[in-house]
Amino acid sequence: MKHKKTVLSILWLLLTAWSAAAFEPIYSLEGYGRADLYSGSGELYGTAGVSAEAGQRNLFDRGYWSWYAAGTVERYLDGLKETVDSEQLAADLRLNSGNYALDVSSTLDLSASSLQNGSILEPGWSGALLYLPDSSPLFASIHYSGYWVYQESNDEDRIAHDLSLTAGRDFSLRLGMSITAGAAASIYSEDYLLDASNQETATKRGDLRWYGELSFEGLAGYFTDWEGILYGEYLDSNANRWISGSSSLEDESEDSWAAGAEWEVNWSPSRTTQFGIEAFLDYRAYLYGTALDSSETSTGEQLTVTKTGGSLNASWTEDNTIFWNLDIAVFRSFSRDPEFDSWNFGLQAGIEYTF
């Protein structure tokens, strides 16, 4: 009897979702060119790409479901002369019941040929229970997500699970804040720990990441919204690494703590124009990992990496069909270890057709 009820409930849900009223799907095609300047070689790399996106939202009385698909093919014109691709499929479902909502989503990331990892297969899944009362400025959620990734040319295949709790408050109509605490565990299926003679042991790498976030979001004017995030995390990993220069093993080399901030502002002064600015700062200090010199020998000094960067994007359209897009991004990483001391600059311009 119980199973019958469950089956009937699922059937009802599927029928309801299937008969949902759909907003018009959105399709877009973009052709773009990108120039990247890297500190390593000091050379300018050109890339040409095409991308396509499609998505649709379908509403029913107590929620919605939506689907999304995207694909990109890029050709590296200089030096590398490689063609890479990436695809993504996603579906979301939301069910509302009074002050509560349930979100379920799944994603599938694919690549037949990526720049460093060969082919990639990465299914992902997530679920969240949200408390969103209209009569109160408070809200809360519990969120679970996971993914499994297969990478053809890399030994970082892994499965990961992430569980987090969020509580927040809208201070006013134009300012909200939330605080999140969570933990994420990753089990690597091909990454084995090394022994003192640089041989793989039977122990697989496992990471446990504890993190906290403080997020603010708000509106500054009718058509300007912003978001800021402060975060901190502690990574507890059993991973170790072989230091080739000194032929020594460094235990717990990935254990680290990090803190950082992200900030984003988007402004649309008119229906034709959109600007976005993003900036970030991330500081990571390794507890046991040391900085290496250019001959890959440990300096004995603690490895710290500070990353900062930002981007500016602009988009213009006259008819909501053809969009002219421009993205500029800069990135800088500071570290005693020359491998982590780098910068790059990128400029991308594209034209997008939506229908």
Partner: protein
């Protein structure tokens, strides 16, 4: 007029007059104590008269010459006789004094205000059942402000028609309309959003959040007109913009 009165009294006392005449004048003054001594008090209501007195005091305290003060008051009195309460003009005078503008500039600004308020009243009178908009000074003033902001009388009339059953919605609804049209959404589509908002259960204060949905939709390549259709179809089903957002916007990619 107050200055004129004082001047007349001054002239009178400068001449050698018999004691009897002075007594007679005093008697007349006592007898006419209830008769308005200033032309300020000749306007339609005691509230208007009080406002005009306040304006006079403001102008005098602001250092305006008596003749200039009279010129400004004459405008105000004329407006009062045409049914425009002086209280609606005080703010402009206060602003002029704060900026220390010249009398011609202040007079021109007041004349412009009077013209807009007159036009606003005509627009309100064109809408059947919207008498409250002319009776409530804040709604009347808001109507004039919309005309001053560049809305044509037809748009303003349409906004009053949308809000005339719910006058409290007029200020936020018209602000929403102005924001959307300034963002270059057409008046027709902007009015659809306003109409849907006023008909919905949304708190008035939430109207100001609706434009942000268009900015977010812009990032997701949802055409503004499509967004209007989404909002119009979903507003009846939600109680807040937060709920509306989750239904009409695609998840950010």
């Amino acid at each position: 007029m107050g200055n004129t009165f004082n001047t007349e009294l001054g002239i009178g006392l400068s001449r050698p007059v018999p004691v009897l005449c002075i007594l007679a004048l005093l008697y007349l003054a006592v007898c006419t104590a209830n008769v308005p001594l200033h032309a300020d008090d000749s306007v339609s209501s005691s509230a208007d008269a009080a406002d005009i007195r306040e304006i006079r005091t403001m102008l005098e305290d602001g250092g305006y010459e008596p003749a200039d003060t009279e010129a400004v008051l004459e405008l105000v009195r004329k407006a009062a006789l045409e049914g425009i309460p002086p209280g609606m003009i005080i703010r402009r005078i206060r602003e002029g004094l704060a900026k220390n503008v010249t009398v011609p500039r202040l007079a021109a600004a007041i004349a412009e205000d009077i013209s807009l308020l007159t036009e606003a009243r005509e627009v309100i009178e064109d809408v059947r059942g919207a008498e409250e908009f002319a009776a409530r000074l804040n709604l009347w003033q808001r109507t004039a402000n919309l005309l001053a902001a560049g809305l044509d009388p037809g748009e303003t009339r349409a906004l009053i028609e949308v809000c005339h059953q719910e006058p409290e919605a007029f200020q936020p609804a018209s602000a929403l309309y102005v924001a959307l049209t300034e963002w270059r959404l057409s008046g027709e589509y902007s009015l659809q959003v306003v109409r849907a908002a006023v008909s919905s259960e949304l708190d008035y204060s939430q109207y100001s959040l609706l434009p942000s949905l268009f900015a977010r939709a812009r990032r997701d390549y949802i055409a503004p007109e499509d967004m209007v259709r989404r909002i119009v179809s979903e507003l009846p089903n939600v109680g807040s913009v937060r709920q509306l957002e989750s239904r009409v916007l695609d998840k950010r990619r």
